[in-house]
């Protein structure tokens, strides 16, 4: 075979030079993690990116976070402030608005990697950076809502928020920065800060990190090397070194795992579910594959300005025509659950008590008949004599989504609605098609969120993107319902747990009746690690499993 000959000729040349035998020792003191994305920047507050939060969670700790059971816990603080324990106190602001004062105490032993203690000076500095209009901090909301900070001593401080919301004590997004390193870089030229920050110019500086590990080396586009932080206050982590390796192509990622170049694949940024299921089947003897149901809500946004979709019966018919149970059962091996609405089944606010849409093409057909779209020659024809056709836009290059879109298309074809599929690069899809409401009918994508997150941005009528509001807001479908608006407003400020629960139930029921979007399923993350690795606890929400990396060890 000439092909093999030429392969071999070249391969042998290089092999000879490179010495054939693999030299990879069983380096048990190093853990190599494979992910599909490389973090482009390392500044915790400027731009958010999944790969970055995964890596940074090993090297720094937020004040608070949601733990793997989705409860809010203190990480860098000593005690979670609540109204009950007196550390949080509702107050009235000078301008008459209702606000709240929340007091946190930093851990006494919390230190940066160069031995400088983490103190209230850092907190003040971070607030200053976060609210400065020129620093380029994308998500300035939390910094803006803090109107003042009282410093009690080196470790204790009080945030004064300008609003009283149910999640008053969740300051997960408040990123504490080391003032002793960053202050100078910031104050010299705030507008240049994002290009001067030590996080990107001097990433290996130990003083930037306060987690169990510190970033020791970055190989741009390829790998991040983390080493044990000698000034870490908590439990001593088991590995001397953790290496996070980015391999974008998931088939190549699997090959790296099988070849032993990486030890595990992070579920947060790992294999698509259907690949992971096949992997579990073939290599379940060597690796543990854990499927963790997540908060990621895959759904189809409906453009309610579309005359067909403005009719609720059409929306309901579209959902009834989908055999989501078979889709999840066959394509995803039953690992992903059919969604009924925007609240995940594992979320404490989830309610089952809502209208369900099991596969029922006959009922879908009846609804369409009723709405004025009878079946003529196998196609649904509207009152104007034109056949009912719809467009479904989704992201290109996402294999699962491409497959699902084709299955949905086939389901809708069965009730006489031809659907045209379009795939766009994520850059185009999220950069314009959905954000500027340029999809004519349907757009399929997912929402990531924190537990008990209020879907205000997605459902409130004031959050419909327009040129007037700079296309901000995420109510891409254009859903406007005063009852929904009222519910969203009420949920945000309701502090009584029982009352909140009932408001949440009402919201989910309204969503299920109205169907501003078509719920598909909740995604599951597939975590793959070697059988001998213990202590990894997938979270399924936006706080990654690496926030508890000090518990990971070999057995």
């Amino acid at each position: 075979m000439p092909r093999q000959l030429s392969f071999l000729a070249v391969a042998v040349c290089l092999l000879a030079a490179a010495m054939a035998a693999p030299v990879r020792a069983e380096a048990k003191d190093t853990l190599v993690i494979g992910v599909t994305q490389f973090p482009a920047t390392f500044h915790p507050a400027i731009e958010s990116m999944l790969a970055k939060s995964y890596v940074l969670a090993m090297a720094r700790r937020p004040l608070t976070a949601y733990d793997p059971d989705w409860n809010l816990v203190c990480l860098l603080c000593t005690r979670l402030p609540t109204i009950d324990n007196g550390l949080a106190r509702p107050e009235t602001l000078p301008d008459g608005r209702r606000g709240i004062a929340v007091t946190y105490t930093l851990r006494a032993d919390a230190e940066w990697g160069d031995g400088v203690p983490v103190d209230t000076g850092d907190v003040l500095f971070s607030w200053q950076v976060g609210r400065h209009p020129q620093t380029g901090v994308a998500d300035a909301e939390i910094y803006r809502h803090i109107v003042a900070i009282d410093i009690k001593n080196e470790k204790t401080f009080t945030f004064h928020f300008d609003r009283l919301a149910f999640d008053y004590n969740a300051v997960n997004d408040f990123q504490i920065l080391p003032a002793h390193i960053e202050r100078d870089r910031f104050e010299r030229a705030p507008a240049e800060y994002r290009n001067r920050t030590a996080y990107d110019r001097d990433t290996a500086n130990p003083g930037l990190w306060n987690g169990p590990y510190r970033i020791a080396r970055v190989v741009q586009g390829s790998a991040v090397v983390l080493e044990r932080n000698s000034h870490w206050h908590g439990r001593r982590p088991a590995f001397d070194r953790i290496v996070v390796v980015a391999i974008e192509n998931t088939s190549a990622l699997q090959a790296n795992l099988l070849a032993g170049s990486i030890d595990m694949i992070a579920g947060e940024l790992g294999l698509p579910l259907e690949q992971a299921i096949a992997f579990a089947k073939n290599h379940g003897d060597r690796f543990r594959v854990v499927f963790k149901p997540s908060l990621v809500y895959e759904h189809i946004d409906l453009n309610l300005d579309n005359p067909y979709l403005a009719d609720r019966r059409v929306r309901q018919a579209l959902l009834l025509a989908l055999d989501r149970a078979t889709l999840c059962g066959q394509l995803f091996g039953g690992r992903q659950k059919v969604a009924d609405g925007p609240v995940a089944p594992l979320d404490p606010m989830h309610s089952d008590d809502v209208r369900q849409y099991p596969y029922d093409p006959a009922a879908a057909g009846a609804l369409l008949d009723e709405a004025g779209y009878p079946l003529v020659n196998g196609r649904r024809v509207g009152p104007d004599g034109r056949p009912l056709t719809l467009d479904l836009v989704t992201t290109a290059g996402n294999r699962s989504r491409e497959l699902v879109a084709q299955v949905l298309q086939a389901d809708w074809k069965r009730i006489g609605i031809p659907v045209r599929l379009r795939y766009q690069p994520p850059r185009v899809f999220f950069g314009q098609t959905v954000t500027r409401r340029k999809f004519p009918a349907m757009a399929m994508f997912a929402w990531y969120s924190a537990p008990a997150n209020v879907p205000r941005g997605q459902l409130r009528s004031s959050m419909i993107p327009t040129a007037g509001n700079n296309w901000s807001g995420q109510n891409y479908g254009g859903y406007a319902n005063p009852r929904m608006d009222a519910l969203l407003d009420a949920i945000e400020v309701e502090l009584d747990p029982a009352e909140r629960q009932s408001l949440w139930r009402a919201l989910q029921a309204l969503y299920a009746d109205d169907l501003p979007a078509l719920p598909l399923y909740y995604k599951a993350d597939a975590h793959i690690w070697p059988k001998s690795l213990k202590g990894v606890t997938p979270t399924g929400q936006e706080d990654p499993s690496t926030l508890w990396v000090e518990d990971w060890r070999w057995e």
């Binding site: 994308a138 070849a259 032993g260 314009q432």
Partner: protein, 325 residues
């Protein structure tokens, strides 16, 4: 001759600069025609981003200006010697490009060298007896390597040499395990083996075919026939005359390829997680990182243009028949 060689080179170089300038405008325009901007992408990833945030960020990154104006600003800045900052990597553009360029040059020169080392001798062998079994085999081999999709070849090599046999690593620059700097030279070479092989195989065919065609073309030249008639031994004829002249077109083609080395190999880099220029440019284009994308694309273009000037010069210099007297 109306113009000296130096003058010609100078005028070509001047024209190339004009081409680059035009290209920078076109690329800037094309990127401006891509929908959305980085802030739109941020909005979709972040429910809390409000109207004021959006306006603030857009102004901060200069995105509120029309793209032609932004291009002029960019040009003015570059003419003053500042390539600007990469928005994606939050670094000076050069600091982002230099490591990628190093990786790419390492990979591409290795692959090119391997293609030449195998392709040129194979082409010569094939040309010695046109129509023989060896010739047909070499030709077939050339066609086969040209006809294989690179990502398929790359994944097959990974499947076989990395996953099945475990001889070679499946991707990355070095092994991160054995201490700082990976495992040293041997480790780097082992990581280089599969991606370089993939690229070398993909490029092999054209060298075989060019070399063979050039050799056969030379046989027909009068001076070779004369050499034969004079009774020089076949070995000397082949080596001294034919080979020297036949290498000229191959050398010029190689000079053209050298320019192309700077743009990297997007597909191979993706399959082997090799952080080179191809990935960097594609990511910066998709991530709307104008400064980085322009510098990367123009650097690659400039290198290719320079390569073609060098190729012309090499042709002039190597081939006595076209050298001006």
């Amino acid at each position: 001759m109306g113009m000296s060689t130096g003058g010609r080179v100078f005028s070509r170089a001047l024209q190339s600069v004009a081409v680059l300038l035009a290209m920078s405008f076109v690329i800037y325009g094309l990127m401006g025609l891509m929908p959305g901007d980085p802030i739109d992408t941020m909005i979709s990833g972040n429910p809390h981003l409000g109207s004021t945030d959006v306006a603030r960020l857009r102004a901060l990154y200069g995105l509120d200006q029309p793209w032609a104006l932004r291009w002029l600003r960019w040009l003015a800045q570059v003419l003053q010697g500042h390539l600007g900052y990469s928005r994606l990597y939050a670094k000076p553009v050069l600091a982002a490009i230099v490591p990628a360029l190093g990786n790419t040059l390492l990979l591409m020169t290795t692959a090119l060298a391997a293609s030449l080392l195998v392709g040129v001798p194979l082409g010569i062998l094939a040309s010695l007896r046109p129509g023989s079994v060896l010739d047909r085999l070499a030709n077939l081999c050339a066609f086969v390597t040209i006809s294989v999709p690179t990502f398929w070849l790359g994944l097959m090599l990974i499947a076989f040499f990395a996953a099945r046999l475990g001889w070679l690593p499946a991707g990355g620059l070095t092994s991160m395990v054995a201490g700082e700097g990976g495992g040293g030279l041997a480790d780097r070479l082992r990581h280089l083996a599969l991606p370089a092989t993939t690229l070398a195989v993909a490029g092999l065919g054209q060298y075989v075919r060019h070399m063979r065609a050039a050799m056969i073309g030379e046989v027909r030249q009068d001076y070779i026939r004369t050499a034969w008639a004079k009774g020089c031994g076949p070995a000397r004829v082949v080596l001294a005359h034919q080979l020297r002249n036949a290498l000229i077109p191959v050398a010029t083609i190689t000079a053209l390829e050298v320019g192309g080395l700077f743009s990297g190999a997007l597909i191979t880099e993706t399959v082997f997680a090799w952080p080179g220029m191809g990935r960097l440019i594609a990511e910066s284009v998709m991530g709307n990182d104008f400064n980085l994308a322009l510098t990367g694309l123009l650097l690659a273009t400039a290198a290719t243009l320079a390569g073609s000037i060098v190729a012309d010069l090499a042709y002039l210099w190597l081939d006595p028949r076209v050298r001006p007297s």
